[in-house]
């Protein structure tokens, strides 16, 4: 019994990890693009981006998952492809969009937080804009955003469980399946251990990154 529970939970956790990793992979760059949009001097773009960010941050992620999965079929009559992969793809879109919007605000805070004097100091020293970004600004932005990013990343670990609502086979689903199949609930409770260990490891890694950047102050 234990063995089959473990195997099943491990499989579910692998899906959870996949959701987690792919969301970060997509949301890190997309968030940066959105943040540039929200800082754009071109007003229509800026307000459009801010509107999207408002919608995404202002509604529950669970609702977004449902709308993105069922919406295309109901509105356009054009469903996601059948089976696990279609549901997984829909979940990816929802997660990446949702997290990119949160990340964009963190990036914006980080970029706007670097004092103008830093750029100006680079300029009067004859540095190019690209040199100023990579040699002066970037590391200061990274240092500023590591703590809030860490928060979001830890939240994402647990938010992946929301994919359950469109029947993506992640670890909660795996644990819950044993209620029906074997009449036992402890596998579902036991999934918590996986989350705890994973977020614990991430916390340690983020702490190390913060320490690495502690040699200077901004």
């Amino acid at each position: 019994m234990f063995q089959s529970v473990f195997i099943s939970l491990n499989e579910g956790f692998l899906e959870t990890l996949k959701l987690f990793a792919l969301t970060l992979l997509g949301a890190f760059p997309l968030g940066l693009i959105i943040s540039f949009g929200s800082m754009s001097p071109f007003k229509p773009l800026k307000y459009f981006v801010k509107f999207i960010v408002w919608i995404v941050r202002g509604t529950p992620l669970m609702l977004q998952l449902l709308v993105i999965y069922y919406g295309p079929g109901l509105i356009l009559g054009n469903n996601w492809w059948d089976g696990n992969s279609g549901r997984f793809a829909a979940a990816m879109v929802a997660f990446i969009l949702n997290y990119a919007c949160y990340f964009s605000e963190i990036y914006r805070g980080g970029i706007e937080g670097v004092p103008k004097g830093q750029t100006e100091a680079g300029m009067v020293l004859g540095m190019t804009k690209i040199q100023i970004f990579f040699r002066v600004t970037l590391l200061q932005v990274v240092k500023r955003i590591v703590p809030p990013m860490g928060n979001e990343i830890i939240t994402l670990v647990k938010d992946t469980s929301l994919a359950r609502v469109i029947a993506v086979y992640e670890i909660i689903w795996s644990g819950q399946a044993f209620i029906k199949s074997s009449g036992i609930i402890w596998p579902l409770f036991f999934t918590g251990v996986y989350y705890l260990i994973f977020s614990g490891v991430l916390t340690l890694l983020l702490g190390r990154l913060e320490k690495k950047l502690a040699f200077f102050r901004v």
């Binding site: 830093q118 680079g122 004859g126 540095m127 102050r217």
Partner: protein, 261 residues
């Protein structure tokens, strides 16, 4: 020939005219002090000289060469503006050291990046970088910070940070070194060490434009005083002329305010 001539510089921010036909000139080896109350346009003038602000009118001429002429329609490329900026060094009121670099790293950075544009960079990379490093170490010794060379800005006092900033501004050997209220952000007990460094530079005939609120210092160090008020140059002269025998009513009132606060 003047090292620097600023002619009829005007600048407005929206409706506010910050500079109105401001001009002055500077000989090689001279130090000029720009004094005046807050909001008189001193800092904006300095920022115009360093191409951080674009004047709406006027000319900036360095070594007889027109670097900027508002009436010409020529559009500057980033490269040209960068080249123009290298005639000037600027020391900011708030230091603006790069926090992730050590003291010497701050002084070296721009020199190392600029060296890459040299044609012989690939062939002589090592020697060039060594030269930049040695120059940086020398400049830090000149401002009395040899033993702090490898510390990061947050490990230094304000006065030490400002001295690093001065060394950094000197690293590219600008024709004209500008100071924007270099001691205004410092605790009173730290202003002395910074003023001492600037004084030493003046003794070595460094060409300087100093915006300052330190009247005694301006009087001691500057060869010429420019008094500005509400965006115009009210009076220009030697320290003796301006401080002891101001010709303008406004200068007199300003100096009285400063001597009896």
């Amino acid at each position: 020939m003047f090292v620097l001539e600023a002619k009829n510089i005007s600048k407005r921010f929206g409706e506010t005219e910050v500079l109105k036909d401001v001009g002055f000139s500077l000989n090689k080896g001279e130090a000029i002090a720009i004094i005046g109350s807050s909001g008189s346009g001193k800092t904006t003038l300095l920022r115009c000289l360093n191409f951080l602000e674009k004047p709406d009118g006027g000319q900036i001429i360095v070594n007889g060469k027109v670097l900027f002429d508002a009436s010409s329609s020529a559009v500057f490329t980033e490269r040209e503006i960068r080249k123009n900026r290298l005639h000037f060094g600027l020391v900011f009121q708030s230091f603006n050291l790069f926090p992730q670099y050590t003291a010497i790293g701050n002084v070296k950075l721009a020199g190392e990046l600029l060296a890459r544009e040299r044609e012989d960079y690939k062939a002589n990379r090592k020697e060039i970088l060594k030269e930049v490093g040695e120059n940086a170490a020398y400049l830090l010794s000149q401002v009395g910070l040899t033993d702090k060379m490898n510390l990061y800005p947050h490990q230094l006092s304000g006065g030490q940070q400002q001295r690093v900033a001065i060394a950094r501004a000197l690293a590219l050997s600008p024709d004209i070194l500008c100071f924007d209220e270099p001691t205004s952000a410092l605790d009173p007990e730290l202003t002395g060490e910074v003023l001492k460094v600037i004084r030493a530079l003046a003794d070595k005939n460094t060409t300087m434009v100093i915006v300052t609120h330190e009247m005694q210092f301006a009087r001691d160090v500057a060869d010429k005083i420019v008094f500005m008020d509400e965006g115009v140059v009210v009076e220009t002269g030697t320290p003796k002329e301006v401080f002891d025998n101001p010709r303008q009513e406004r200068t007199l009132r300003f100096l009285e305010r400063y001597s009896n606060p």
